[in-house]
């Protein structure tokens, strides 16, 4: 399962070499979480965590870290991955030192940041041992924090059983016109990643036709789950699957569909920034999130697929291996992101 699961990260890192990004020949020696590191982190007293994860997971996770290491405040800066990339670009470009740790749903961004020399390689012994090779950059510049899918989902009160779509192509049926909601690849890394995979699998004509379906265009991949729960639209074309599941488990009338064409898979890398103003707290946070304890926390709250092999996926959710997924290709996303945004805007007008 692991092999297939994270083809993406592996693909990204093997192709990285010819781009001249490989300054170090191997990952740095693992750094243990020592009492000295914890002490230094407490002296810094805070850490800024840029993330694209939904606030309902990110903020409790931050609070759990704060409880584990009292005296260190976590500032969660959440927005869409594409916005994060823009903000970090503008801030680092203007010498504003703010970001300590970045985590986003667009793996392509980490290729860019690594090439620019903005990332500080960091692995704990636990990460070195328990992350499969395809879960981390060979130079240790970034690791995959967790994996989720961009799934189709629907409100069971608004879609009759015989009308449930089986996949993406089904959604082009005129009977779904005006019933769809979807996120935007110019905002969300999940949607950007998914758009690249779907355009490759189904062709851009798919999106051209989809744009004629009177789609409610929201920004974040975290919003379609909220919109179908509210009953604003019957079907989400895309969206972070963990939020569909969380809503369902909370009793919302929501079902997830794994498309016959395959469901886009999204890894969520994380890295420490070289210019981090709180380098020790940054390492402590990354070390904790990737530790079995941190990974378990993410799994318990959200049921996203963990990267650390010591942690099991959430019971009651379908195993990743059992789902037909589309191949993730961060390098291709990196090369074609501009084109994807431009084409998308041409079809959807925004």
């Amino acid at each position: 399962m692991r092999r297939r699961q994270f083809v993406a990260a592996a693909a990204a890192s093997t192709v990285l070499a010819p781009l001249g990004a490989r300054v170090l020949s191997a990952a740095p020696p693992p750094q243990a979480i020592t009492p000295a590191l914890i002490e230094a982190a407490k002296k810094e007293g805070k850490v800024t965590y840029y993330t694209a994860m939904d606030l309902s997971v990110a903020e409790p996770m931050a609070k759990a870290f704060e409880a584990k290491y009292p005296g260190i405040k976590v500032a969660v800066e959440r927005t869409g991955a594409e916005r994060l990339f823009n903000r970090i670009g503008q801030e680092v470009g203007s010498n504003i030192r703010r970001v300590d740790v970045a985590n986003s749903s667009d793996a392509a961004h980490f290729i860019v940041w690594k090439r620019q020399g903005w990332l500080e390689p960091f692995l704990t012994p636990d990460m070195a041992e328990n992350l499969a090779a395809d879960q981390r950059d060979p130079d240790g510049a970034f690791v995959n924090q967790r994996t989720h899918l961009s799934a189709i989902a629907y409100n069971t009160r608004m879609v009759k059983p015989e009308d449930v779509p089986k996949g993406f192509v089904d959604l082009l049926d005129p009977k779904y016109s005006g019933k769809l909601v979807k996120g935007h690849p110019g905002y969300s890394g999940t949607i950007m990643t998914a758009t690249q995979q779907l355009a490759k699998a189904l062709g851009w004509e798919y999106f051209e036709k989809l744009s004629k379906q009177k789609v409610l265009q929201v920004q974040s991949a975290t919003e379609p789950p909220k919109r179908i729960e509210a009953g604003e639209r019957a079907i989400a074309v895309d969206g972070s699957d963990y939020l569909f599941w969380m809503a369902k488990e909370r009793g919302a009338p929501i079902e997830v569909v794994h498309a016959v064409e395959g469901t886009p898979q999204v890894s969520n890398p994380m890295a420490v920034f070289k210019a981090s103003p709180n380098p020790n707290a940054a390492r402590l946070l990354v070390g904790w999130i990737m530790s079995p304890e941190g990974q378990e926390f993410i799994v318990n709250v959200s049921g996203q697929y963990p990267a650390n092999r010591l942690v099991k996926a959430k019971a009651g959710r379908p195993a990743l291996a059992s789902i037909k997924t589309l191949p993730e290709d961060p390098l291709e996303v990196e090369k074609t992101a501009d084109e994807i945004k431009t084409r998308y805007q041409r079809y959807f007008k925004v």
Binding site: A62, R87, S94, A230, E232
Partner: protein, 559 residues
């Protein structure tokens, strides 16, 4: 004017320099960048690229349609309402006037979010209610807020109060004798209205129409919230989208120029329209206008006024309160479903809340203080013609009116992300933006206040040997106290609700409340938005109430 040396010269130099930093530099950079090609040479290529690109031309046309419609709707609503309040014996006229002005406290983007809760085609509370009452099938909607019409409606809701205030104030001042004469000559009530009142009010209405047009033209928040889900852009959202990755500042700068030019032209037109108003007041003292008796129409009139007020005020706040205490905004909260989840999340979990509140409060206080002082100084210099070149200061203080918030944001970004003043990433750049945006209104308020203070009082002070600044501090300032407090409040409130410049200029560390709400909007966290919006409005209301206790007249102005 005296030749004695005092501090006035350096102060004046400082004011002029400050205005240059605030206005000349950003606009200058905007123009330079819009004319710069990829090779660094001067070119019109950016403009050619824009005007041949349908993704820019379409928003331009859409924006003009919106601005014209909003302008027409605002006049159609504000004129009768203003007339009812100012010239008739409608019950509760004073309360209604206060409530219309109070609706201006609502930031337009918060209003837009509240209207999403009310009139989203499927989950909107009004649509659900209508389905319940009429049995309308689930796929149909009475209102669809995600449409051009929906956007026009919501912008109108938060724009008509400006027109209303202008019209009501003008009708207050209009001499009653002319109407009396008309009725004495045998004209019926409605004939008098048609022949006397309407023509006299027309220039004001025209000015109001232009104010509404400008508002609609330059608004960013409401279109960002309603137009993008519906699949179209306006000019401001398009400019903003050019700032998203990969940022194209040269195109954003070029796209800002039409907005700038249009605004300048309209302001000229507005000045002309307001200038003509002079003929209405012929001099001499007039009696207070006699209220027109509505008779049996009093009931319907007050019902109409309350119906209008439901749009910007009662309905949106009901929706905000509902979703603040509800798990899902599309469900009416009941005794069993009421929850403090959103309140807890916003204040205990959301780590951006406290920094954003702190930044907002700090910036609003600093902007209000600095802005009121600056406006006071400039108004003084201009009113007393204290130095040569005072007209330039007056012009510069009014000029920002012509700069839409988002355009100023782009200009400041271009000017202050480079040396010598790399202010981007600090609160200073936001302070400059807010003070600049609010300066014209503040300057106009204090300018008119200065006309009420006799120069003789100041001259007496000067003759007794006080310097100009001393005179200003000891004599003029106390006399202007209430006007200054009103101006301070005005800037404070306006700063708290500013979004269009802030959304371009903020960084993660300098995030303000309006930007935080916008961020939350993009991820659909409506519960937290409702809590934050209500907090924002509560703070604003408390500040206004506190200022009222300082015996200041609350003022709301069209700006």
């Amino acid at each position: 004017m005296t030749r004695n040396f005092d501090l006035s010269r350096p102060v004046l130099a400082a004011v002029a320099a400050l205005l240059a930093v605030m206005i000349v530099l950003p606009v200058g950079w905007l123009l330079v960048v819009s004319l710069t090609g990829k090779d660094g040479g001067i070119t019109l290529a950016n403009f050619v690229a824009l005007f041949t690109d349908p993704t820019f031309v379409d928003p331009l046309i859409t924006t003009l349609i919106i601005a014209c419609s909003v302008s027409a709707i605002c006049c159609l609503v504000a004129a009768p309402l203003g007339w009812l309040v100012a010239r008739t014996d409608m019950p509760f006229a004073r309360t209604i006037r206060t409530l219309v002005m109070a609706s201006l406290v609502t930031p337009p983007f918060v209003g837009a979010i509240a209207w999403e809760m009310l009139a989203a085609p499927n989950s909107g509370l009004l649509n659900q209610l209508w389905r319940l009452l009429s049995g309308m099938p689930p796929d149909e909607a009475l209102f669809d807020i995600y449409s051009l019409g929906g956007l026009i409606f919501v912008i109108s809701c938060y724009t008509f109060p400006y027109v209303f205030i202008l019209v009501a104030n003008a009708l207050d001042r209009m001499p009653g004798e002319l109407e009396d004469a008309s009725s004495m000559l045998g004209a019926k009530t409605w004939q008098t209205a048609r022949l006397i009142t309407v023509p006299l009010a027309l220039p004001t209405l025209l000015a109001g129409a232009l104010v509404a047009f400008l508002q609609a033209l330059n608004l960013f928040g409401s279109p960002a919230i309603l137009a993008i889900p519906a699949g179209f852009h306006t000019l401001t959202t398009r400019i903003w989208s050019l700032f998203q990755f990969p940022p194209k500042p040269e195109l954003a700068a070029a796209a800002s120029v039409p907005l700038l030019v249009l605004t300048v032209l309209l302001l000229r037109a507005q000045a002309m329209a307001l200038g003509r108003r002079g003929y209405a007041v012929l001099g001499g003292k007039y009696g207070a206008p006699r209220p027109i008796r509505l008779g049996w129409l009093r009931g319907p009139a007050v019902a109409l006024a309350l119906f209008v007020l439901a749009m910007p005020l009662f309905l949106p706040y009901a929706a905000l309160f509902n979703s603040a205490f509800s798990r899902v905004a599309s469900r009416i909260v009941g005794p069993e479903t009421i929850t403090l989840h959103n309140v807890k999340f916003t204040f205990l979990e959301l780590s951006s809340t406290m920094p954003a509140l702190k930044n907002t409060f700090l910036l609003a206080t600093a902007s209000a203080t600095l802005g009121a002082l600056l406006a006071l100084l400039i108004a003084y210099i201009v009113a007393r013609k204290a130095v040569r070149g005072y007209r330039v200061l007056g012009f510069l203080a009014t000029a920002p009116l012509a700069i839409p918030g988002i355009v100023l944001g782009v200009g400041l970004f271009l000017a202050y992300t480079r040396p010598p003043l790399a202010l981007y990433g600090t609160l200073w750049i936001l302070l400059i933006a807010f003070v600049t945006i609010e300066l014209p209104a503040a300057y106009q308020q204090l300018g008119s206040a200065f006309h009420a203070v006799h120069p003789e009082l100041e001259e007496a002070g000067r003759m007794l040997g006080a310097t100009r600044l001393r005179t200003l501090a000891d004599i003029t300032a106390p006399l202007l106290r209430s006007a200054v407090i009103a101006t301070w409040c005005f800037i404070f409130v306006a700063t708290i609700r500013e979004l269009s410049a802030a959304v371009i200029l903020f960084t993660s560390e300098t995030k303000v409340l309006s930007v935080l709400i916008f961020d939350l909007k993009e991820s659909g966290d409506v519960g937290a938005i409702a809590v934050l919006s209500l907090t924002m409005v509560a703070i604003t209301t408390v500040v206004i109430a506190a200022a009222n206790r300082l015996h200041a007249r609350p003022q709301s102005r069209a700006a």
